[in-house]
């Protein structure tokens, strides 16, 4: 039997629910609304650099100015759509590589003896102790024409002319996969350690060889981890700016770079805001799909 809610009871419940809502409203919805509002403004030489939404023009007249030119521009100029699609593609490729590299690593950590497991996890987390920017800069040193990698390959005799990797798309892939691998490994590891090892014993007992047991038992049961890790990699990589800017070719089209250019170089906040909103809309679709997939996995066969 639950006691009838007292006044203080209701108050504490209101506070409990209210605080996260307040937080979301203040730090997510409000900024989102501001960005949304900027999309329909015009750039202006002012502080902030866009036109106001409404203006009193006398005689009790309120003039509201809605500028849809940005969306029309994005639609009509191929570069924006191409950048968006290219970003999605790059993010997809990187997610696949992170998964292919991260799954075996997460599996190895999850199945390692207890004591070694902590050390291995530390090794995954350790790079975070150094600034992200510095680690990406370090890759320049590794990948450049007379960098570490080329010198090493020349020394071993595997190549006789230096490879041109830096400032190509390959360098972006390398940098992104390197930087985002932990975000794939950690959720996968968390998922795989929860896997009951007797399930694999049961599979073996029922005549299932180890690799098939992996495909039929481990893999489907770790799907939630795969989805979580993939989202953690895919979503931030779509908007990634630093890595393509430092390692990629100057002509490479990434929406993050484009945003930067519009925002800081061209001072066109409305266009940048429109692009950001469009990117968000494009990301919500795969996100919702993956969420659906995840709930379906958790609910299992109908």
């Amino acid at each position: 039997m639950t006691a009838p809610p007292t006044h203080s009871h209701r108050l504490s419940r209101l506070v409990n629910i209210g605080i996260p809502y307040l937080w979301l409203g203040l730090f997510f919805l409000l900024p989102f609304a501001i960005v949304l509002r900027i999309t329909i403004a015009e750039p202006a030489l002012a502080q902030p650099p866009y036109t106001a939404l409404w203006e009193w023009v006398g005689d009790g007249m309120l003039q509201i100015q809605v500028n849809l030119q940005n969306f029309i521009l994005i639609w009509e100029d191929d570069i924006y759509l191409a950048a968006l699609l290219n970003s999605l593609w790059v993010a997809f490729i990187c997610t696949v590589f992170c998964l292919l590299l991260g799954y075996p690593m997460a599996y190895a950590i999850a199945t390692a003896p207890e004591r070694r497991r902590m050390i291995l996890l530390m090794l995954i987390i350790l790079p975070f102790w150094t600034s992200f920017l510095i680690r990406v800069y370090a890759w320049i040193g590794i990948l450049k024409t007379n960098g570490l990698l080329n010198n090493f390959l020349l020394w071993t005799g595997l190549i006789d002319t230096p490879l041109h990797i830096l400032h190509t798309q390959s360098a972006v892939y390398i940098g992104v996969v390197y930087s985002y691998l932990p975000f794939m490994i950690l959720p996968l590891y968390a998922n795989l350690t929860r896997l009951d090892p007797t399930l694999l014993e049961a599979a073996a007992d029922l005549g299932c060889r180890p690799f098939r047991a992996f495909l039929r038992v481990t893999l489907p049961l770790s799907m939630a981890g795969i989805v979580a890790g993939s989202m953690l990699v895919f979503i931030p990589v779509v908007g990634e700016f630093v890595i393509p800017d430092l390692l990629g070719s100057p002509g490479s089209l990434m929406v993050g770079k484009l945003l930067w250019t519009e925002f800081f170089s061209n001072k066109d906040w409305p266009l940048a805001a429109s692009l950001a909103i469009l990117l968000l809309a494009l990301l919500v679709v795969p996100f919702v799909l993956m969420q659906r997939l995840q709930t379906r996995i958790e609910e299992g066969p109908a």
């Binding site: 009951d196 007797t198 399930l199 007992d205 029922l206 005549g207 299932c208 299992g300 066969p301």
Partner: protein, 382 residues
């Protein structure tokens, strides 16, 4: 306690272990399993015959589960050999053994329906679809879980999960089924019913069952033979009746049921009759089939239900003791009395409550005399 075992005895006797010509179905030959420095199974040999309901009984850590896992192929022995149906399977991986196991935790695949769980093993054998469906249907019917076929393990009760696990392990028609604490996770009522069902199933299918349990009642009720294990070794291997009535050592006597132990020395031995001098102040007369030289230190073991109230106490009466009732545990059907006798030892006596509790004669602090027959106990040297 021994209802099913009794029924077995009235039926044509299944006692292949008495037949020197019978070939064992499972032959364990001097098997040792070490984990680091710990001997989980220590130089153990054992034969199990076709159609047996064999139980490995012991407290946790005695090595019974390890022995079962060795049979399943989930562990490999450090030394010794294991034969199943005449084939050396010592180093055969689990997926190639003609053996299935029901796990203590049931280990049902959480991402598969009941039906898919049962079908899993059949799929590994690449059986055609129709045959698989037939076999799954047969198993679900056998265990009366057909209506659960589309459910997932998390939507099942403990008893239902147990049935699914059993159906899954039986689906491949194994000749040997290993059961790790098959009833451990069920509540008492369900456990009793399932015991009967398991035995019926085993008799109907003619499969050899090897179960691991720490529950002596379960082992007593279901098994053809029981191996009592301790520290990786078999302490006694016998039928439930023999283990209860004629324990071979103190460990077994104390492990199964309750027992009164009287320590002493043999003072006279004549044929199968021995006299043991104990601290009770008077000699104990017992029957013993083993020869005991005079002076051998022995322990006399007498079960509480073998004790009875003495009708007429005589100073020279055989195995009669005087004492005071110190504790009474009323269990409904029986009561357990703890009686402090001459030398201060507590002796347990179980009496069936023929009269209602309120009309019983025995009460606390009462002076009583108890006795037992020389044939209702054993003389132990170990």
């Amino acid at each position: 306690m021994a209802t099913i075992a009794e029924r077995r005895l009235s039926a044509p006797r299944l006692e292949p272990w008495q037949d020197p010509k019978a070939a064992p179905y499972v032959h364990i030959e001097r098997v040792t399993k070490k984990f680091g420095d710990v001997y989980a199974v220590d130089d153990l040999s054992l034969d199990i015959f076709q159609g047996e309901f064999f139980s490995l009984l012991g407290s946790s850590g005695c090595g019974k589960s390890t022995l079962l896992r060795l049979l399943a192929g989930l562990e490999y022995p450090s030394a010794g050999r294991i034969f199943i149906d005449g084939v050396d399977v010592t180093n055969v991986p689990p997926y190639s053994r003609p053996v299935n196991m029901m796990f203590q935790s049931y280990a049902l695949f959480p991402h598969m329906s009941v039906e898919q769980n049962v079908e899993f093993g059949l799929k590994q054998d690449r059986l055609p679809r129709r045959e698989r469906a037939e076999r799954v249907g047969e198993m679900l019917d056998l265990l009366k879980i057909s209506e659960l076929r589309r459910r997932r393990p998390e939507q099942l009760s403990g008893g239902q999960r147990q049935r699914v696990a059993l159906a899954r392990s039986l689906a491949k028609h194994p000749k040997l089924l290993l059961l790790d604490e098959p009833l451990g996770a069920l509540d008492k009522r369900l456990r009793e019913n399932t015991q009967f069902e398991l035995v019926n199933l085993q008799e109907r299918l003619g499969i050899t069952f090897v179960t691991v349990t720490h529950d002596q009642e379960e082992a007593m009720t279901m098994s053809t033979r029981i191996a009592i294990m301790d520290a990786g070794q078999i302490m006694q291997l016998d039928t439930p009746t023999a283990i209860y009535e004629f324990p071979s050592c103190r460990f077994v006597a104390e492990f199964i049921g309750s027992v009164n132990l009287f320590e002493g020395k043999i003072v006279s031995s004549d044929g199968d009759r021995v006299v043991v001098d104990t601290r009770l102040g008077r000699p104990i007369h017992m029957r013993s089939f083993l020869p005991h030289p005079i002076g051998t230190p022995v322990t006399v073991a007498v079960r509480p239900e073998k004790m009875r109230l003495c009708q007429e106490f005589r100073e020279d009466g055989v195995n009669q003791l005087k004492g005071t009732v110190e504790d009474i545990a009323y269990l409904g059907d029986v009561s357990i009395y703890r009686i402090r006798v001459g030398d201060g030892q507590l002796v347990e006596m179980t009496l069936t409550n023929i009269q209602p509790r309120t009309e019983q004669a025995l009460t606390w602090e009462q002076e009583v005399a108890i006795e037992w027959s020389p044939t209702s106990g054993v003389v132990l040297t170990e």
